[in-house]
Amino acid sequence: MSATAPPAIDPITLEVLWTRLISVVDEAALTLHRTSFSTVVRESHDYTCMLLDGAGRAVAQATRSVPSFTGTLPISVKAFLDKYPAESLRPGDAIISNDPWIGTGHLPDLTAAMPIFAAGRLVGFAGAIAHMPDIGGRRRAPDNRDIYEEGLQVPILKLYEAGRPNETLFEVIRRNVRVPDEVEGDIHAMIGSCHKMRLGLVDLLADYGLSGLEAVAEAIIDRTERAMRRAIAAIPNGTYTVDTPIDSFDTKAPLLIRCSVVVGDDGLVVDFSGSSPQNPTPLNSVMGYTMAYSMYALKCVLLPQVPNNEGITRPIRITAPEGCFLNAAYPAAVEARATVGHYCTSAVYNSLAVAIPERIPAESGIPLHGFAIRGRHDGRAYAGIFFVNGGLGARPDDDGVSTTSFPTNVSNTPVEILERSFPLRFHDKSLIPGSAGRGLFRGGLGQRVTMEVVSSEPMTLVILSQRLNFPPRGRQGGADGSRERVLLNGEPVEGGRPFSVVNGDVFTLELPGGGGFGPGSERDPARKESDVRDALA
């Protein structure tokens, strides 16, 4: 690295360079999206691409990214650098890992990074994350007790060394997953996208006569940090602590998120001290994932328009005591970390709503809800997971959006495709009237999904459910949204454990509506009337 400070970049050139950097990453991400095999990557956009500087700081990310991944990739690259210091890296190297503790928080996501060299000098990293079609282990099993049951662990290793593939590692991965061709195809798609970013960055540096990314990175990060500090300064200083209880797999023993948002002159701290200890189920989150979703919640409120980069995170510190379920220690089971981690956005908003009540939407029907099924039918094995979503919380200036994914961003799978893929018949997939929290603005509506098993062989079913006891909260006098309900053949049951269901069994998931905002008595009569006419009230 050069010893002299890089020259400042003017605000016109910087905008042009940054736009180009983002387009380099977008090109790579779109290539990854097109060439991957994994349904989650394609249908749910469960991947990201990012350019980082030589120190592993995020500089530019793909426009369409999963929020958590953009938070964890820089953590991973810094861990890669700890194991393989900069001076040991060669052109053509590619490093991978799925270690939840330095990565995305669970094993199915593979993180890859490739050092980029220009004129013989390390100038940055191309990073990519994608959800693999399989990673071995007992998938979506709520009774997994530790990480060893959850699948193959790939420590930080070089998948390519100076352009040579690590055949041993490829073989180990192939032997440990149920669909080796698809997994290998997706890994190639990721490495391909890293090469695309590498070439794009090298071209850009040549076009602008730059020897490295430092000056650009520094300027982007610095300006973003200053904007973030201004946004934080608009929040009154103070400590805002709110408890957010959530369901565990044993609904009589909820888990507690205690979230303190501390706003001071020198930045903002999110502290999860006082939250429940880690537990012997997959309902645990690693620190990186907890940080990613807390940071995401803050960015949406404080600096939504600025493309994500390291500067967003600089004035913010996120902490949770080690051994707490939001900072679980190895070898905890963590596969359901999304369920836990998604609640971090809710917890942060519940606390922020004390400080800036006029800017924070009511709670949404998060986290992930859905169905994981497997079995045999017509002589073929099947396995699948598909998601459905509750309603979003009301906003300070509008009703919440019905049946929409938050804070992650997963689409549903069309019923016409599900019935073709699995022995299921859907009876109902409709909005639930009255599920939205009332208010000056009401929440988005939840939905009811009812389906019947149509197979002569039994099906193993896991219902990913939450909010059986804790409905999405209303704000500023708005009412809470509805609770979730799970029914098997008409009888309420608890999710969490796998069911064995047979031909003719009917199961229902009723997803919560979002919380309301402001007093219902002040609601615009025209909006009220419209809901009545649509039988939604």
Partner: protein
């Protein structure tokens, strides 16, 4: 009756209605441009038709009138369609409102989604069920259908009805029966049936398509009838053709009657067809990026092997104009257009990070850029182009409008210069560079999505601002050639003239390629071919046998994205087609993804047939027809100082009059070539010439 010798094309745009008439004997054309009449767009069309007839022909000599219109898409955008009802399967009334449950912008907590075109109160469920294999599980409750229909019409006053049942394309028997009952009970109702309108799997997208179709049908019907009657009054053929979203033309009356959603992007499709025509005429390899930059937006489309790229994932009625996913999705084949919030009127500003940004906010036409002198005080792209010397203040819109460079400089200085600490010229260049980078970035991402290598492409520039920015865009994208066609100002109307009569048909057909029932496939293709021929009947010559292009959407089992794989033309389709389908799929896959597909079984998703006229390409002589003569100095108007990046400043630059340039003379840049609607900028590292048809070709050093 004498043999018709003329054809007329009318393109109704937001501001102007363009009319072009072709004399097929000489291949020459007449142009006319008049102001559009938004309250009744057919009126402007008829005024224009009358005007052009007065100039050059008798009505009886006109054999065909081809039309492009935004009437359908505007109805959706402005919420002015019919009061529409929806009938669907019990349990699925809310499919239209539940949508796909994802967010199109992950950081926007204020996210808006478009309200459903049919509110819940007008969505009715009926008892019936068909399985994905087409087996009837629950018979249709006809009495219930009658009751629901009566309620929708009498209580809610619906004028249009969409029918979309779960698995309606696996077995349309119930959808058809409901349509029969509806027509029998209420003959005036406009009815759209999902398996006829869309025919593809995915219930939300199919419902959305069917609903949009029904929603625009009464209005489009009335519009086409008025137009046809008006044409008849002028003594013109009363069966106009219409530009369809996929870039072919179809019979307007039949399309309006059966599936008006297919003409939803009529106007933009016509522009892309024109660009493809110019690519075929001017380029050895007809691979091009069509770049149409106007006042508020820039539109990008990809021309490959002389044809515009099409998509089957289309949307209308966006809540966020430039955000994919914020509209009503349509299962129609449409010319693929990427719209970017960047035009001449786009406003430059300093964002929250202190960086210079351009757009998407636009000053529009009123007050417009500061240099218009109509009260605009915000610096725009046009203002920067003026300061950089790219525009002639005395020859804007052919001299109809004077621009005030002082106002541009003042706006740039006041709003931006002081805060950025840069000179007016530096900021003006910055605005030009930032907006170009924004468009280039979008173009690169679009190319990546389509798997194309941009360096093999040329740029075809249209629109008032296109040729001003094309040279710099080409440099950013690493393109070696820019084409500024003659007649670009009426490109969409030209597109109507050169388009081929064609209809696209599609059927869902899911199954492993190696297990597929070829008898059923052959029958499906035959049915689509016959259906297509029926629709086109009026547009084809009596003895003409239309061409049928058959294709299969194929994917690797496990992959979600399929590739439309053309089957060999002119060969019978049957079990013997499997090998060709596999080979062609592999070729397409490598072309798009850059590597061969994995060794996994293949799966067919849909069958597609494009039935089109086999008539030969229309040759237009758009230029003055006398290019090639005069000396270069006669075309040279002036010398002006223009700013270029390669010279890092202002350079003396020759100014030419496009209408006086000789053909086939290679002229070195820097140069600026003025025409009525735009200026063409050529940098010092490029040269240009006019071809025999007066199209301008710029070659860049790469």
């Amino acid at each position: 009756m004498t043999r018709p010798t003329h054809r007329i094309a009318i393109d109704v745009g937001g501001t102007f209605t363009d009319i072009v008439m072709l004399d097929e004997r000489s291949a020459t054309v007449e142009f006319a441009k008049i102001l559009s009449t938004p309250s009744d767009p057919s009126r402007g069309s008829l005024v224009g038709a009358r005007r052009i007839l007065a100039r050059a022909a008798v009505a009886a000599a006109v054999g065909e009138v081809v039309h492009a219109t935004t009437v359908a898409t505007n109805a959706v955008l402005e919420g002015k369609g019919a009061v529409t009802g929806l009938i669907t399967t019990r349990g699925f009334r809310d499919t239209l409102e539940i949508r796909r449950e994802n967010r199109y912008d992950i950081y926007d907590l204020g996210l808006k989604v478009p309200p459903p075109l049919v509110p819940r109160r007008r969505r009715a469920e009926v008892s019936e069920r068909v399985t994905f294999e087409g087996e009837v599980l629950v018979p249709l409750a006809e009495a219930e259908v009658r009751e629901r229909l009566a309620h929708l019409v009498k209580e809610h006053g619906i004028e249009a009805l969409a029918i979309c049942l779960l698995h309606g394309c696996a077995n349309p028997v119930h959808e058809r029966r409901i349509a029969e009952i509806a027509v029998e009970m209420f003959p005036a109702l406009a009815v759209s049936v999902s398996n006829e309108v869309a025919g593809e799997i995915r219930e939300f997208e199919r419902t959305s398509t069917t609903v949009v179709d029904a929603y625009v049908k009464p209005m489009v019907r009335r519009y086409v009838r008025r137009l046809a009657d008006g044409l008849a009054d002028l003594g013109l053929p009363n069966r106009p053709s219409i530009m369809l979203s996929h870039g072919g033309v179809g019979p307007a009356c039949e399309v309006a009657e059966s599936f008006p959603v297919r003409m939803i992007e009529s106007g933009p499709a016509a522009g892309a067809i024109a660009a493809a025509y110019f690519a075929r005429r001017t380029l050895a390899e007809a691979n091009a990026i069509a770049f149409d930059m106007g006042g508020t937006t820039a539109k990008i489309s990809v021309i490959r092997n002389g044809a515009p790229a099409v998509t089957t994932e289309y949307e209308v009625g966006h809540v966020h104009r430039f955000k994919r996913g914020s509209g009503h999705p349509l299962q129609v084949t449409a010319v693929e257009l990427l719209e970017i919030g960047a035009g001449g009127g786009s406003i430059a500003h300093i964002n929250e990070l202190g960086l210079l940004n351009v757009g998407p906010r636009s000053a529009g036409a009123d007050p417009g850029p500061a240099c218009y002198g109509l009260g605009g005080s915000q610096p725009t792209v046009t203002d920067s182009d003026l300061v950089l010397g790219y525009l002639n203040p005395d020859y804007f819109v052919g001299g109809d409008m004077r621009l005030d460079p002082g106002a541009s400089r003042a706006a740039i200085e006041t709003v931006l210069g002081a805060r950025l600490g840069r000179s007016v010229e530096e900021v003006a260049w910055g605005i030009h560079d930032v907006v170009n980078e924004k468009m280039a970035a979008a173009t690169r991402a679009h190319a990546a999505e389509k798997g194309i290598d941009l360096r093999r492409f040329s740029l075809i520039a249209f629109g008032g601002a296109g040729p001003v920015h094309a040279y710099a865009m080409a440099r950013k994208l690493g393109l070696a050639r820019v084409v500024c066609p003659y007649g670009a100002g009426v490109a969409s109307a030209v597109g109507c003239l050169v388009a081929t009569p064609a209809v696209e048909m599609v059927r869902t057909c899911v199954g492993r390629l190696d297990e597929i029932d070829w008898t059923a496939v052959t029958a499906a293709f035959a049915a689509m071919r016959d259906g297509g021929r029926r629709v086109l009947a009026g547009l084809l010559g009596a003895a003409e046998r239309p061409r049928v292009r058959a294709a299969m959407d194929i994917r690797c089992v496990g992959q979600g994205y399929s590739l439309t794989t053309p089957l060999p033309e002119g060969e019978a389709i049957g079990a013997g087609s499997a090998a060709a389908a596999v080979a062609r799929f592999r070729f397409r896959y490598e072309e798009v993804y850059g590597h061969s597909p994995p060794e996994v079984p293949l799966e067919v998703v849909s069958l597609r047939a494009r039935v089109e006229s086999a008539r030969p390409e229309v040759n237009l002589t758009l230029g003055p027809g006398r290019a090639g003569g005069g000396p270069l100095r006669a075309a040279r108007k002036d010398v002006r100082r223009l700013y270029f990046e390669v010279t890092s400043g202002f350079t003396d630059t020759a100014v030419y009059d496009r209408y006086r340039l000789p053909a086939d003379r290679r002229i070195d840049g820097p140069a600026v070539i003025e025409e009525r609607e735009t200026s063409v900028v050529v940098g010092p590292d490029a040269r240009f010439h006019l071809d025999a048809e007066a199209n301008m070709i710029i070659e860049l050093q790469t």
